[in-house]
Symmetry: C2
Subunit: 291 residues, 2 copies
Amino acid sequence: MPVKTEPGSRLAALRDEIEGRLRSYLPQRDRLIPPLWDAVAHSLLGGGKRLRPLLVYAACEATGGQPGEDLWRACAAAEYLHTFSLVHDDLPCMDDDDLRRGQPTCHKVYGEGMAVLAGDALAVLAFEVLAATSHPELVGEFARAIGGEGMIGGQVADLQAEGRPAHRDQVTRIHRLKTAALMVACVRAGGIVAGANRAALNALTVYGEELGSAFQIKDDLLDVLGTTESLGKTAGLDARRAKATYPSATSVAEAATQCELHATAAISALQGLREPGLLRELVHLCTQREG
Amino acid sequence: MPVKTEPGSRLAALRDEIEGRLRSYLPQRDRLIPPLWDAVAHSLLGGGKRLRPLLVYAACEATGGQPGEDLWRACAAAEYLHTFSLVHDDLPCMDDDDLRRGQPTCHKVYGEGMAVLAGDALAVLAFEVLAATSHPELVGEFARAIGGEGMIGGQVADLQAEGRPAHRDQVTRIHRLKTAALMVACVRAGGIVAGANRAALNALTVYGEELGSAFQIKDDLLDVLGTTESLGKTAGLDARRAKATYPSATSVAEAATQCELHATAAISALQGLREPGLLRELVHLCTQREG
């Protein structure tokens, strides 16, 4: 893998490496009862920005770490956990979405029961892959981030807020739990693998929180302003389901302003880290994306 | 906690201790977005045999270990993972059951979306609780047991077999994955906490496999022969959903014979363990139960 190339192609090379790892830590297809592997692979290997593994990698680099088996495992686990959340969130009893990453959602192809189980299998696989690293504390780090006091809690809040007038504080809380918590775990995981000190881990935590907010406000904005084609998922679904979003709680203009403010704060948090270039680039990737 | 009393009251005392631990490792109610804690507690704290935590405990005792924080964490994690599987298996898109442990199922009370999330939260909590022990290998042990090549794979096989003629080999495979894999992890976890040697862990593995088979054949038999009242879940549901069960693949008489054979094999596997009394008692608990 090239270590120093121009930013665009470097990201592409990193994504290729990540794709390979996502596949290599999956069980062999013939070791799983059909159609489990296919249902998992459909959701996992069908594209995606791979932002969370990139965050793990970039945080390791930023704090002076070198890529190695433990890092790639943490990268893969981050994407397994993210995909688990997407598969369950898309279910008819949750956000009821037919389209994800430009493909029919898992339950549209394999049925709801199989989608529940494919999501379950991905979550468990993430912990299995993390358990095989030499950093057992990564298990606790990711578990706290995605559990009832983190991402899953955010999804509960999101479901409960549906169809009611949204308040800014409430939306901020949902974003922190639903989106930022996992991103914080990703960058902290990269730092932990690199052996980062407490000050660096604290800086990464602030970065993850700010990036998570910027990312999710942008996501809310794209649902209003984007197209189904550019997003790879159904546009306008938040309004149709009366979800609590930042633009609905404030305005499109205010949401855009806040997105920028959080992005700036994320970049500011990187002061003092050794090699923050890739983490900085990922902020731009999040806020300037069209899908 | 009494260490030596008559068997019946000893089990009752152990169950009380386990109930306390199940509650104490849960996040505080006010730290979770409503109604997540209630949905989790509804399924987790509403009774149950607590067989899996008892297996963890009994295996630790059998291999010379002493109760302590790590053991109770492993006990709680085992029940969290079991309850996670029950909550998801009861969903309308899976076994579609209205009654569990004598109560309406989680989704009947809190809705399907919340039941998916309550199950997810329990699975993640289990790994968080295990990650805080001084035996990080427990994470891998349980993750392998419940993942796509274990319990979740068994649930896939179970779903796929519905409505088709069941063959004995296929049912045996479903039982091994769906039920025995977690029980094997439970007894191995107890052994690991106790510092058991390889021979003892192998004996526990055989015990778990045989007990799992006996338990699930008994479960299949109870669905045919039991009542909804004695079971605390809807009787006769397997036949109504044309599930692949041992009695349907063979006969009630053959299933009863096989249940006994597996129970005997489980007890035989205990030869050579230091203090196998409680593990032996749990075999009787599984095969002589009426619910």
